[in-house]
């Protein structure tokens, strides 16, 4: 092997590694977002329980938004609740499929302010699964959450928003 062949082989290897690195950024990005609560992304299911902190109250508001082209009606039953950090709460969202065909939907959550997302735990959420509704069917969907005791003290107000996407006909995929 001449020195040029050896060098070119190494450089091509570097090209392949960097192509892979581009794709590695995808899971890396998700891990970073969840670890640091960046971008309002919430983590998956929370298993723990916490002691209730009666000394303060946090306002939690709920938003429901349809992504473009989504025909369902989708709204929270309560616009907001006041909770003590550490306590578990359940609220319900209601969705209805007004079309004449069965549809599948996926809700994607987001917390504002984004930096508080790391302290917002969902112990149960309809966003963990896909929702299938027959024509005209209506469903009440629960979400249970705990606002962490360690939520920064200057955060008094949180918003939990869901965007509902129509994923009928889409293969379940990892992105």
């Amino acid at each position: 092997m001449t020195s040029t062949t050896r060098l070119v082989t190494r450089l091509l290897l570097l090209v392949a590694v960097m192509f892979g690195f581009g794709f590695a950024l995808v899971p890396l990005y998700d891990v970073m977002c969840q670890a640091f609560g960046i971008n309002g992304k919430t983590a998956g299911q929370y298993q723990g329980t916490q002691q209730v902190d009666d000394s303060r109250t946090v306002r939690v508001q709920f938003l429901a938004t349809n992504a473009e082209g989504m025909a369902w009606t989708f709204e929270p039953l309560q616009a907001e609740v006041r909770v003590h950090p550490g306590a578990s709460h359940e609220v319900r969202f209601v969705a209805r499929n007004p079309t004449d065909r069965p549809m599948t939907a996926q809700a994607v959550p987001s917390v504002a302010p984004a930096r508080a997302a790391a302290w917002f735990h969902k112990t149960e959420c309809f966003c963990f699964t896909q929702q299938v509704l027959q024509p005209g069917e209506q469903i009440e969907m629960p979400v249970r959450f705990i606002v962490d005791r360690d939520l920064p003290r200057d955060v008094h107000h949180l918003t939990l928003g869901y965007t509902l996407f129509d994923i009928t006909g889409r293969q379940p995929q990892d992105g």
Partner: protein, 532 residues
């Protein structure tokens, strides 16, 4: 290659036959000669420059006055997108690859590039890539209209049908750039003449070596991001679609991980050329050679750590904003070292202002202005005001037009005597400089004010309050655009004739390229020169 046998000269130690170029069109299709390929790259780049430039003329004509006069908004968006793509990937990058092909072997005493056949292939991929890209303009639904940064979901969910052709065009030009970069690295690391140590290499070779590593590091990431787009559009994945668990913001991170080093890919070779030209016309050696090399390396390294300054407004945490803000400002330090060295080289030199020097001095001054507006944009809290306004347009045109493009003009005038064997017309070249200088500043300086006053980028129509500055800007752009036809005339005139150029037409110039006759023979340094 039929007519070469009569030119065979036996040097005794030369392995190859010494022959001239083949005749006819196939010379250019089949050539593996670094000078031929350099010429092809330079002409290709100039054609792309005129094409991208005429798109800029459409943009400026529409913005000449408020209201919609000439084109529809849909077509306007295609023009801004294609202007950016063609100028970045078709004009600036191939021009530097052309300069590298021509000059690197001559500067390091190599007979040719290390991988001549791959060199031919990497050039001929470009017409294919740009043929694909430009053909989208004639397709149903039009060409790419999502800006040269092609943010998802604009470029996925809401893209015209032709986006697939755009993706393959990017793939092809990426492969071409990567092969070009591999060739440069192999040439520089393996083919230097005896005695040409790394720290004796001309800075143009150094900056290109570093640029080539940047290309190898980030062009695959660009290929990755367009591949993800392709999969989202056609294969049902959800990299950038929240519905399937993806995130459009991810697109911006991956894109700018490529995109920020890319802006240095477009400027570092110009730094190298300017570092040859300023000493030549100051008749002094370059001040601070070693610090120039390390500063280039530092800029290249830092370019990987600052990408999020393009996306301060997407909602990144405060610590992130601070990190990217300070890291960005840190780049001003090595860049400042370079500007300081150029000015110190001129200090107390015996300066003359031939066309290459005029472009080089304008480069130093105007690139620094562009650098300062970059520092303003780097201030995260201020960026919320400047983001996506004409201030950004002013900033990057100040670093790319009097930066990259003036660097290319300066290089072209500096080395034209070596390429053609004739001196170019100095009077016309100075006219070219002054018209370009005035036109470019008239076109881009008012954009700072427009941006600070709140005019957004990428719009075909605007508020009446922006009318006057846009008028000035359009007049400047027309002047700058028309002036480039003068450049074409000067180059053709220089190729066809003119005062014969000596081997070293600039008395202060340094380097091995001036030790061969002008025009440079078809084959040079078949016997490696001795470097002291």
């Amino acid at each position: 290659m039929t007519d070469m046998s009569d030119a065979v000269i036996d040097h005794g130690h030369a392995v190859h036959d010494h022959h001239g170029p083949a005749k006819g069109l196939m010379r250019w299709v089949l050539t593996t000669n670094h000078k031929d390929i350099g010429t092809l790259y330079l002409w290709f780049s100039f054609c792309a420059f005129l094409l991208g430039g005429s798109m800029a003329m459409v943009i400026r004509a529409e913005l000449f006055q408020p209201g919609l006069q000439i084109v529809q908004p849909e077509f306007f968006n295609q023009m801004t997108t294609m202007h950016g793509l063609i100028m970045v990937f078709g004009a600036v990058m191939p021009a530097f690859v052309g300069l590298a092909n021509w000059m690197i072997p001559l500067m390091i005493g190599a007979p040719d590039m290390a991988l001549p056949r791959m060199n031919n292939f990497s050039f001929w991929l470009l017409p294919a890539a740009f043929g694909l890209l430009v053909s989208t303009l004639f397709m149903e639904g039009g060409g790419p209209n999502f800006g040269w940064t092609f943010y998802a979901p604009l470029s996925t969910t809401y893209a015209p049908e032709s986006v697939t052709f755009f993706i393959f065009a990017i793939h092809l030009m990426g492969i071409s750039s990567i092969m070009g970069a591999i060739n440069v690295i192999a040439t520089v690391l393996n083919l230097r003449a005896p005695g040409m140590t790394l720290m004796k290499m001309p800075l143009f070779v150094w900056t290109w070596l570093i640029t080539a590593f940047l290309l190898i590091a980030v062009m695959p990431v660009l290929a990755g991001v367009v591949t993800m787009m392709l999969m989202d559009i056609h294969f049902g994945t959800s990299f950038f679609s929240a519905a399937g668990g993806g995130d459009p913001v991810l697109f911006q991170h991956v894109f700018w991980f490529f995109g920020h080093p890319e802006v240095y890919i477009m400027i570092l070779p110009a730094f190298g050329a300017i570092s040859a030209i300023i000493p030549a016309f100051s008749r002094k050696p370059l001040f601070g050679y070693t610090s120039m090399v390390y500063a280039t390396g530092a800029i290249a390294f830092l370019s990987f750590l600052v990408w999020s300054h393009h996306m301060f407004t997407v909602g990144i945490p405060l610590t992130g904003e601070l990190f990217f803000m300070y890291a960005t400002m840190l780049i001003a330090v090595p860049t400042g070292v370079k500007v300081f060295n150029w000015v110190s080289t001129m200090w107390q030199g015996s300066l003359t202002f031939e066309a290459p020097m005029l472009f080089a001095v304008a480069f130093v001054i105007l690139f620094t202005i562009g650098g300062f507006s970059g520092l303003m944009l780097a201030i995260a809290p201020a960026d919320f005001q400047y983001h996506d306004t004409y201030f950004v347009v002013a900033h990057f045109h100040y670093v790319l037009v009097p930066g990259a493009i003036f660097g290319i003009f300066a290089s072209a005038y500096y080395w034209l005597p070596k390429w053609t064997g004739h001196m170019y017309d100095e009077t016309l070249a100075r006219l070219h400089f002054w018209l370009s200088f005035v036109g470019m500043n008239l076109a881009f300086f008012p954009m700072h004010f427009l941006g600070l006053a709140g005019m957004p980028r990428r719009i075909p129509d605007y508020n009446l309050m922006f009318a006057n500055f846009n008028l000035v800007s359009s007049i400047g752009a027309f002047l700058f655009g028309a002036t480039q036809l003068l450049f074409l005339f000067i180059v053709i005139k220089c190729i066809r004739g003119g005062r014969p150029a000596p081997a070293k037409p600039w008395d202060g110039a340094e380097g091995l390229e001036w030790s061969v006759p002008s025009p440079a023979p078809y084959h040079t340094f078949q016997v490696p020169p001795e470097v002291k």
